[in-house]
């Protein structure tokens, strides 16, 4: 599996740990919420980046006090038609101000990629060898936004009432090169 992030494929630097697997000596690890709750003390003390994998029915709002220890949250799209993770992403970004990586895994269609980015998901896991051109193209298919979301795109409503047409500004979600890619 490869990770599409910031407009390019990147190697996956995270190791997913099952609930009963022993803690490896080093490296970034992703654990379930159950394991985090069980081993929180050990994990907090282990001085390494920690990622959390959320099930679709686990609300991020329960994590308000723990997110500061997380560098990554993985959310799931078990089927393309299951859109719960879109709300999880928005709660993580908008409500809880999570600044780390939000990674989508599962059945990720290029035609959903723009929605994901708009909801604050900044990385998606794709099968190795999958061409990414379609995903990148999907981000350029629209230039008009009808609702505020977890990104910096300026809505048509704001533009109608005098706000400048720009995507510049402090972004919690994207780096400048990606913002440039989204520019009008």
């Amino acid at each position: 599996m490869a990770i599409l992030k910031h407009g390019a494929l990147q190697p996956n630097e995270w190791q997913e740990l099952s609930d009963d697997a022993p803690l490896p000596e080093s490296g970034n690890i992703i654990v379930s919420l159950e394991r985090w709750r069980r081993d929180e003390e050990v994990l907090r003390a282990s001085n390494r980046p920690i990622g959390l994998r959320l099930q679709n029915n686990q609300s991020p709002l329960a994590l308000a006090d723990e997110l500061d220890r997380m560098s990554l949250v993985v959310i799931e799209f078990p089927k393309f038609s299951d859109g719960r993770a879109f709300s999880q992403a928005r709660l993580l970004r908008d409500r809880l101000g999570f600044k780390g990586e939000i990674r989508a895994v599962g059945n990720i269609l290029r035609d959903q990629y723009l929605f994901m980015i708009r909801c604050g998901i900044d990385a998606v896991e794709l099968p190795d060898g999958k061409p990414i051109d379609g995903y990148l193209d999907a981000l350029n298919e629209f230039s008009v936004w009808y609702q505020p979301a977890a990104d910096d795109r300026v809505t048509a409503m704001s533009l109608r009432h005098g706000k400048k047409k720009t995507t510049a500004g402090a972004s919690t979600v994207v780096n400048d090169s990606v913002a440039a890619m989204w520019a009008y």
Binding site: F115, E141, F142, S143, A149, L159
Partner: protein
């Protein structure tokens, strides 16, 4: 009416370009039908029994004459000369070719129309009172808010893959003509003690397999918070709505399962966090959209029009049409005209391309160039001078669109049924046609009076049979079409779900059964002013059972 600005026009063009690419990928075999399905659905393209079907959005049912002419053109050029107006104030074409659909969408974009979110598990085309802006009892024009909701919901990134479809209706008047209580969200405008206008919010209504009348969860929502409140409801639903069973995925099931109180608490809690966010509606945006819906340049006319009054007395046929198809207007000297798409022997809601052209011409001549589509599958010319009614009636009559039956038994809602739909168990249109031929005497149907008869070809209830005063549901019994009858439904302020009267009827017997029900009503009604639904509510279902099944059978269990 609303006109696209540069943003809307650009957006719709971009959407067509995107869909054209998706169709090309499908035709080239780059994506499978499975992968294509969600993409085409969110652009209104279904795969039906015989062909693809394209459902075009008519936001809150309002059209310009130019748009209606374009719909007529598409019917002739890309379909078999017809279009079918639906209960969501949309229009469906039943015979387009997939490779031509992008071209159709281009034509639509030319007249500021599209097919976005007319299907799929997303927020669907928003509906509103078809008498918006002209009804005597209106507080404010609901289309202003329906348009605001349309924009907010368009390609909403968080709510494009909901557990199930999601329908919102808005009414600006105390009288509910938009069936808000049978929508996922229903909004009713009202004034609070300080004379501010806001919304009463209803949630969890819906038809389908499990018909439910919605519940009010907020008695007054200030306008500026409209979008944040909707977003809160949708966010709760998107996270908690069931996804394990297609038939239990609508928000009504969630509201019923969590209980109204707990559901309301969840929504309010979410809302507290976002009510003052970027979703707050600025007054200047409300003002901007309101200017599009400003009243047309009405003439100052006396309400009493002697020539019109004389004509309705002199010509009983015209008089009957005025009685049933013409409604009072808020401006003196004007009237609202319902254009019936329910001629004797016709398919309810169907109009030919030529009929669309004629209505567009009549709208230009008599009604400021604007047309409405009703959720009862008729059209409306909302601003007609009373002095023009006679001429208009003659023109409509010549094109078979002046059947004097609006609100009567032959003003049926019917889904396309097994003639087109791959979900249906039974045909709907032939039954509707037979009923309309059976009740073809205009004097008799006027005497029967207001009677809502709705027909669905399957349990998914696209024909709204549960909320018909009389509902007919097509069922399949060992490969044969049967029809189950319900009584006592309503989609108005007194919303209720009909009750099954007894064992179902064969295709041969169903029209006779309707006749028996009508006769029973005529026999039992307290006076000729007592409507069918009122008689039913007064005397209950038993007298109807008795006349349908006889005394002995009446005690058989109602449900099958």
């Amino acid at each position: 009416m609303y006109r696209y600005d540069e943003f809307d026009a650009t957006f719709v063009r971009e959407r067509v370009r995107q869909f054209r690419g998706q169709v090309e990928r499908r035709l080239a075999g780059e994506i499978t039908e499975d992968q294509f399905r969600p993409l085409r659905l969110q652009n209104g393209v279904y795969l039906q029994l015989h062909a693809y079907m394209l459902r075009v959005a008519i936001p809150y049912g309002t059209l310009s004459s130019r748009q209606l002419r374009k719909l007529g053109y598409i019917a002739r050029r890309y379909d078999r000369g017809f279009g079918h107006f639906t209960t969501r104030q949309n229009i469906q074409y039943n015979w387009p070719q997939l490779d031509e659909i992008p071209a159709i969408l281009d034509h639509l974009a030319e007249v500021e129309m599209h097919a976005i979110q007319t299907s799929g598990n997303c927020i669907r085309n928003v509906t509103a009172d078809h008498y918006a802006g002209v009804a005597v009892d209106e507080i404010e024009d609901p289309r202003v808010y329906a348009e605001i909701i349309r924009q907010w919901s368009t390609l909403h990134p968080e709510f494009a893959f909901l557990p199930r479809k999601f329908k919102i209706a808005v009414t600006g008047a105390p009288t509910d003509r938009a069936a808000i209580r049978v929508h996922d969200i229903g909004l009713r405008m009202l004034k609070n003690e300080s004379d501010e206008v806001g919304f009463e919010v209803w949630v969890g209504g819906g038809l389908g397999r499990t018909p439910v009348v919605g519940v009010p969860i907020r008695s007054f929502l200030p306008k500026q918070h409209l979008l944040s409140y909707l977003e809160s409801i949708l966010r709760v639903y998107n996270q908690l709505g069931r996804r394990d069973n297609l038939y239990k995925a609508r928000i009504k099931i969630l509201v019923t399962a969590t209980g109204t109180e707990e559901f309301t608490r969840l929504v309010e809690e979410e809302w507290q966090s976002i009510k003052d966010s970027a979703l707050t509606l600025p007054q200047e945006e409300i003002d901007r959209i309101q200017t599009y819906f400003a009243p047309p340049a009405y003439e100052s006319l006396p309400d009493w029009q002697p020539e019109f009054e004389a004509a309705r007395k002199a010509n009983p046929e015209f008089g009957r049409w005025v009685q049933s198809n013409v409604k009072p207007h808020k401006v003196p000297g004007y009237a609202i005209v319902d254009v019936s798409l329910k001629p004797e022997g016709g398919a309810p809601g169907d109009a030919s391309g030529d009929q669309m052209d004629i209505v567009a011409d009549l709208a230009d001549e008599y009604s400021f160039g604007e047309i409405r589509v009703t959720h009862h599958q008729n059209l409306v010319l909302a601003n007609v001078r009373k002095q023009d009614l006679f001429a208009l009636w003659q023109r409509l009559s010549a094109s078979k669109m002046a059947t004097a039956n609006v609100g009567f038994i032959t003003d049926m809602i019917a889904c396309p049924g097994l003639d087109y739909c791959n979900l249906a168990n039974a045909r709907s249109i032939p039954v509707a046609q037979r009923i309309s031929r059976h009740f073809s005497d205009p004097k008799r149907i006027a005497d029967i009076g207001e009677l809502r008869l709705n027909i669905s070809g399957c349990i998914n209830a696209c024909g709204h049979h549960h909320v018909g005063h009389i509902g007919i549901l097509g069922v399949d019994k060992q490969g044969e079409e049967f029809y189950q009858i319900t009584l006592g439904g309503s989609s108005r302020d007194d919303a209720s779900v009909g009750k099954i009267v007894g064992p179902s009827f064969s295709t041969e017997d169903v029209v006779g059964a309707i006749e028996t029900i009508v006769d029973t009503y005529l026999d039992k009604r307290a006076s000729s002013d007592e409507r069918f639904i009122d008689t039913y509510r007064r005397i209950g279902i038993d007298p109807f059972k008795e006349s349908l099944y006889g005394n002995s059978k009446a005690r058989r269990p109602a449900a099958e």
